[in-house]
Structure formats: C-alpha cells, structure tokens
Symmetry: none
Subunit: 271 residues, 2 copies
C-alpha cells in the first residue's frame, strides 16, 4: 500500500465495492453494467453462472470503452464462492423482503461501504437476474438491502441502471470526501470500534459456521419439515448475518455448538 495518509483520509484511496451479478441473462446487460461501472470508477466485476456462458461477445460489444471491466470479470459457479472473501455485502432488491435487515438507500449504502472499506473490509454489492431479481436465499446472505426510491407505479429498473445508480452514489461520495465534505459517517462509524480487536469474519468462515449449526440442528431433529427448514435457515442466517460477526465470535459460536451438542465427547467415545 503506497497511498498517503491524506489520500486515505480523503477517501480517494478507498477501494470501490465489488459488483456481483447473479445469473445475469443477457451479455448485453453485463456489458452495459460494465460501462456503468467504468463511468464511476468501479472496476471489479464478478459473475455468478451467467446464463449464456462466458466469455460473451455481446458483453464485450455492449461494453465498448469498458472492455477492460468485462475482460477482467471473474466467473464463479455459485454465489457462495463469489462472495467468500468479502466482509460486507449489500443486496439490491426492488421490494422489501420479509427479512430483518437494514434497508438502505443507495446513498446510505455507499456511506456504509465506505466506512467498512476504510477499516480494511472487502465490500460487495449484489444484483439479481434481469427478470426475477435475487431469490430469498441469496438475499439472506447479505448484511443489508438497497432499495432505490423509485416510483412505486413503475418500479422496474434494468440491471445496468441499478448498477449505474450505485456507482453514481459511490463516486459522489468519494468526490465529496476528497473535497472535504460529507465525510462524517452516521452510525456505522461506531461499528468500526469493535473491529480493532478482531477482524470481521469472511463469508467463508460464516458459511462454515452456518453449515456446522445447520447440520447439528438437523441431527437434533430441529427442523420439523423440509418445508419449514429452508425458511428457518434463512431466518437464522439473517439473524447472525446482522450481528456482523468477527472471526473470534464465529469461533466462539462454533465452540458453543460443540459444547451444547456434545459432539466432541461422543466422537471421542466412538473412536
């Protein structure tokens, strides 16, 4: 890292969020999203299982001057893999889900992301399929939701436009910060305090914790029916996701599972 302290303070050296497109359908929309990113200085694009395969000639064509964003896009087979190394994830959605998560405007979301990025966290913004958006299980993986304040009577934003608005707010914020304006983070700055002691958990550590918890609950017959199982898992993931767990806390929670479920002891006996 070679940036100066004043660059960090001014926000110009903040890494922009990663943009993650989940199962995008048309290469053209991927290319236009890449353009929108380049317009506002975002560069890191990840694709989860693009429907029409990859690389995509139509994505390159639609990107025009932003070919580098398309050419450097990373492709992942699953959303879990695409977000494994991220610490803070926001999901864009057109409607309020029945989930207990903060709902942010693009402007507020960008402030949160900047605060997290300033403390060294890797951040991402999730965008769903053109037609159907994100599924509930996908949204459940995010720390917060972005809802663009559209006209309720005509709410459909296309994919590249949603990316554009997030990029626009990011650049506004960074430009404002570098001009010495509006650098005060409301709220989330407080969350920076507890990170001194322990790094936030990565998504990978969180997934391992979820799987541990869910498999032990399965063994205990906690999920009465398969029907209930998925919504219960979603609710639990939401709950723990909201706590913005640190690495240390994830270790503590896993210790709790082991202690309560007695696995270590019973394993020792079996061996």
């Amino acid at each position: 890292m070679s940036e100066t302290a004043s660059e960090v303070a001014s926000g110009t050296a903040l890494p922009p969020p990663v943009i993650i497109l989940v199962a995008p359908q048309l290469g053209e929309n991927i290319g236009q999203s890449a353009r929108a990113m380049a317009n506002f200085g975002l560069a890191s694009l990840r694709l989860v299982a693009p429907r029409d395969g990859w690389p995509s000639a139509s994505a390159l064509a639609a990107a025009s001057g932003a070919r580098h964003v398309v050419e450097n896009a990373e492709v992942f087979p699953s959303l879990e893999a695409a977000i494994a190394d991220l610490h803070y994830l926001v999901a864009t959605t057109a409607r309020i889900r029945e989930m207990v998560k903060p709902i942010l405007s693009p402007e507020t979301a960008v402030k949160q992301i900047a605060a997290k990025a300033a403390s060294g966290q890797r951040c991402g913004v999730l965008f769903g399929r053109e037609r159907s958006g994100l599924e509930n299980d996908e949204v459940a993986l995010a720390d917060a939701l972005i809802i663009v304040p559209v006209n309720p009577a005509f709410a459909s934003l296309n994919l590249a436009q949603a990316v554009l608005l997030v990029g626009y707010e990011w650049r506004k914020f960074v430009a404002g910060a570098s001009l010495g304006r509006a650098t005060q983070f409301d709220g989330p700055a407080a969350e920076g305090l507890y990170l001194n002691k322990s790094q936030p958990a990565t998504r990978e550590e969180l997934f391992a914790f979820f799987q541990h918890l869910e498999s032990e609950l399965g063994a205990a017959g906690f999920f009465k029916t398969d029907d209930k199982r998925s919504s219960m898992i979603r609710n639990m993931r939401n709950l723990f996701g909201r706590a913005a767990l640190t690495e240390q806390e994830v270790r503590t929670l896993r210790g709790i599972i082991v202690a309560l479920a007695g696995l270590r002891r019973s394993r020792n006996r079996v061996e």
Copy 2:
C-alpha cells in the same frame, strides 16, 4: 390548482421538470429515456426533431411499461419552440463549456428546479444527441449546466442514463422533502421498517435467553475457568445484543439451545 399549501411546502405537489431530448438519433434511446422518467415519476417528454421521425415503433418497444410517456411526447421542429413556455432551463453536458454559466451537479440542479417550481415556474432539462451532445448555441439557451461527476477516464454516459440520474435526484429530493428529511431511507428510520412483522425483544426476554444459554453452557462444561467465564459471557451478550433481536428470533435461539442440548444428552445416553 387544488393542492394545499402544506402539499406545496412538502414538495409532493411540485411539478417535475420537462425532459427535452434534442435531435435524438435512435428510437430505442427515446424509449429507454421514457422508462427512466417513469421510474422516477417524470412524465412530460419533448422531442426536438427526432432523426428517424415520429411516432417510432422502436421507441414504443423500448419503453415497455412506460408507453404512456412515449405516446404523450410532444414533438417540436426547433429547440426554441420546444422551450418557449419554460421559465428555467438546465442543459446537461459532458464537458465544461467556455460559457459563463453556473455548473451544477444533478443534485444541486434538482434543488434549483424545485425552488423555481415552488414559485410557479415551469422548468426543463435539456439532453443532447447521443453521439455529439448539445451544440454551443443550444447550451447558450440554458440558465445553467448539469455535469454528472463521472470518471474522467471514461466519461460517456448514454442518453437514457443521463435522464435516469436526473430523474433519480428529482425523486430523492421530492421524497426527502415530503418526509422533511434529506433522503428517504437515511438513518435509523430505515431500521424501523423491518420491525413491523415482529416486535423487538424486550430486555426481559433477552436476559431470559442469556440465562438459558449460559446455564446450558455451564452444564456442558463450556466455561473452563471462572476467570474466563465472565468475559466470555460479556462477549456473547455483546454479540447477540448487536443483532437487535426480535421476539421471534429469541424464541428461535432458545429452540436451538433446547435442540442442541437435547442432542448432547441423547449422544451421552447412546454410549
């Protein structure tokens, strides 16, 4: 005009600016601009000498749900005719012109427009040709310029995206005004939204949960020493406290404790 004084003051009755596209080339871009307008509650579209004539099947197709905006678009032979009845006009441009005019961000421009509209003035925003933008003589007709804060290394916004950003700022402003706050979802009010379905847990419910968890952990031998016990408990309480649990979630967590502890007992019995 039948709106009340309080409606005017709150911004809800402010007429949005007219969007004027000067010599647009592709019907598709006109249609997409109409969509962007509808997304943010703008309805009045004027076209100056659209290159491929009017009406346009491709504009209607691209507008999809915003056909009404396209169908109600007014067509003028000259820019002068298109803006004749307007009081205040802002021109979007990608570069700073050698003209003595105020240069505004989209956000500031929208505030100006709202102030003018509140005093009864008719306002418009001018957008140039896809390829070459507005000519100097056209820009000269405007009261001020809008420059979107794009990445200088990749500055080309397409027409509909420029319309989108102006519409977005308009709606943000109007929504903020009607709430008496800067943006619609800013701050803690956002978090109030998601608690509709389930009440936040009371302190009493939280304490009962903590005691339940801690007593089961004690029974499982989780706390190695009394010394560690109090700091571990504090950390766990912090962690769950931060999640701002609902009543329902506290019930779920207690169900988890019961299930896992039951698993340990059954495992111990098996051996």
